[in-house]
Amino acid sequence: MTTLTKEAAAESLANGRAPKTKTRGQLVNKPGWLGYGFLGLVMVAAIYPIYWAFMIGSGDQTTITKRQVLALPGPNFLDNALSVISNPTVNFWVAITNSLIVSTIVSVSVVFFSTLAGYAFSKLRFKGKGGLFYFVIATLAVPTQLAVVPLFIVMVNLKLTGTLAAVILPALVSAFGVYWMTQYLEQALPYELIEAARIDGASMFRTFWSVALPSARPAAAMLALFIFIQTWTNFFWPFIVLDKDSQTLPVALSVLSNNYFDDYSLILAGAVVSILPLLLLFIVAGRQLVKGIMEGAVKG
């Protein structure tokens, strides 16, 4: 490749132009109407199902039978949403509160433990470090979800079934989180800072707390965002281990679809309502999310 570049430079010299580093804008073609058209289609595909659900969810029982592809929303969305939210079998408010509690605790815990481990793996010297880090990465490939049967037996023995603890406990740490924070601190935290703190007589933990933790903040925020969304949307394990009073939002939503299967306007109104909390988060922090996915990809 280097030879090619040299040739290219030589050629442009021969043409009488000075070889210059081109910016992305000059080099990459601008997209034509085809590019924008394609992206527009992708956007329609991303938004249409949600809009369609809103369209049906804002009508009444007969709206679905009209078989409209695209129409203005009806007048009943708030009524439908309220009758779903206030329904005692669905227990929506409890579910939203539970989801909020679980997702918040899990995010904070994952971020803290991941930063702690990431700091050790990236900046501290200890025996067996390489092997242990490989182990962490290897666990990423283990489909732990398949171990639900014994996990359920453990939770029964601890008398934790039907409590939020049953969902929180297995999620307190994350191999992905440890990997993520290790990668970040590796390049973001200079050794000089750590040494300076140590020379000033700070203990190891004090050094972590006042030097490593603050400089980990940008990556920690992104990690928290990911874990929050992941926990919020999780269904399989909560569905197995939680009950009516401890259910999270996706579990409540599945109950809803079993209870009202003949009135699609109510079911879909419920589905739309369930999207709103994360949609709000997306509007506030979507930019960060995009950045996080892209930065994670380059490192991964």
Partner: protein, 319 residues
């Protein structure tokens, strides 16, 4: 004098003590910091996984608990069930319909996003929007859209003169519908991963190729794809691990959650759930879990090999 020496001695001892503490601090701290991960993973990940093997060798019911040791009887039983093989077929079929189109479309989206478009952030956020929707909500919405009778998909099909499809009653159409839900949520996400990898490719490569007169398509296949090799492998392998465990979408594709009247879209993870919490037979559920575990490891390895082949074939063209 004496008091002075005592004080000195004390000071020396204190310093020495602090020194020892500090040395211990340096030695032990790293292990302390990584231990939460390892301890919790051992309890909630590794132990249950191994214990699955133990349960699978026993008669074990949800209510009665541990029964007799039965060796491989549970495995023999589930492998003799037609339900197991149908579930296996469904799992693979749904996976194929989701992974391949997803990677291809994501690559194209990424390639377009990699051009010098206006309002970059807007488009990037737009393609990512479906990611924040809970799979349960996606499953509910799409199960109505793919409704055999009033579904919007069939409405559109009949409007343009095509026959309506039995999205729930037929095997392959139900797999396509479920795969569509997966693709809806993940394609934009994967596209952003590919986009990031594309932007990391040195621009000199393209410059050189352009000077050599390579067309846009040629540049894409001879530079972009080979350079994306590690990323494509990463995406394919992770989507294999996740995709073969699919549960949410097929479970909520109708209101009964059993995978259709003939189990035409029942997946292996649904089968595990039905055995464990439907038939209350933990032994058999664990046997299926172990089998699926082995299948995922083998299939992940095969996918790794295939994607490596394909991408390196691409880089050979380049030379």
């Amino acid at each position: 004098m004496t008091t002075q020496t005592v004080a000195d001695e004390r000071a020396v001892r204190l310093v020495a003590f602090r020194h020892t503490i500090s040395r211990w601090d340096v030695k032990v701290s790293p292990y302390l910091y990584i231990s939460p991960f390892f301890i919790l993973f051992a309890i909630t990940g590794l132990f249950p996984l191994l214990y699955t093997g133990y349960v699978s060798m026993h008669e074990w019911s949800l209510i009665g608990g541990e029964g007799d040791f039965v060796g491989f009887d549970n495995f023999a039983f589930v492998l003799g069930q037609e339900k197991f093989w149908v579930s296996l077929r469904n799992t693979f079929s749904i996976f194929l319909f989701s992974s391949l189109p997803q990677v291809l479309i994501a690559l194209v989206i990424a390639a377009v996003l990699d051009t010098n478009i206006r309002a970059k952030t807007f488009w990037r956020m737009g393609v990512l929007l479906p990611y924040i929707v809970t799979p349960v909500a996606i499953a509910i919405i799409f199960s109505v859209m793919f409704g055999d009778k009033y579904g919007i998909i069939n409405t559109v099909l009949t409007n343009i003169g095509l026959p309506a499809v039995g999205w729930h009653s037929e095997v392959i159409p139900s797999h396509i519908a479920i795969a569509t839900m997966v693709n809806f949520r993940w394609t934009g996400y994967q596209a952003l991963i590919f986009l990031a990898a594309m932007q990391a490719i040195p621009r000199d490569y393209y410059e050189a190729a352009m000077i050599d007169g390579a067309s846009r398509a040629r540049r894409f296949f001879s530079i972009t794809i080979p350079q994306l090799r590690p990323t494509i492998i990463f995406v394919v392998v992770t989507s294999t691990i996740g995709g073969l465990q699919i549960f949410d979408e097929p479970r909520l594709y109708d209101q009964y959650g059993t995978g259709g009247s003939d189990g035409q879209w029942r997946t292996l993870t649904m089968y595990i759930y039905n055995l464990g919490w439907g038939e209350l037979n933990f032994g058999r559920a664990s046997a299926v879990a172990w089998l699926l575990f082995i299948i995922i490891i083998i299939f992940g390895a095969i996918n790794l090999a295939i994607t490596q082949r394909i991408s390196s074939a691409g880089s050979k063209v380049k030379k």
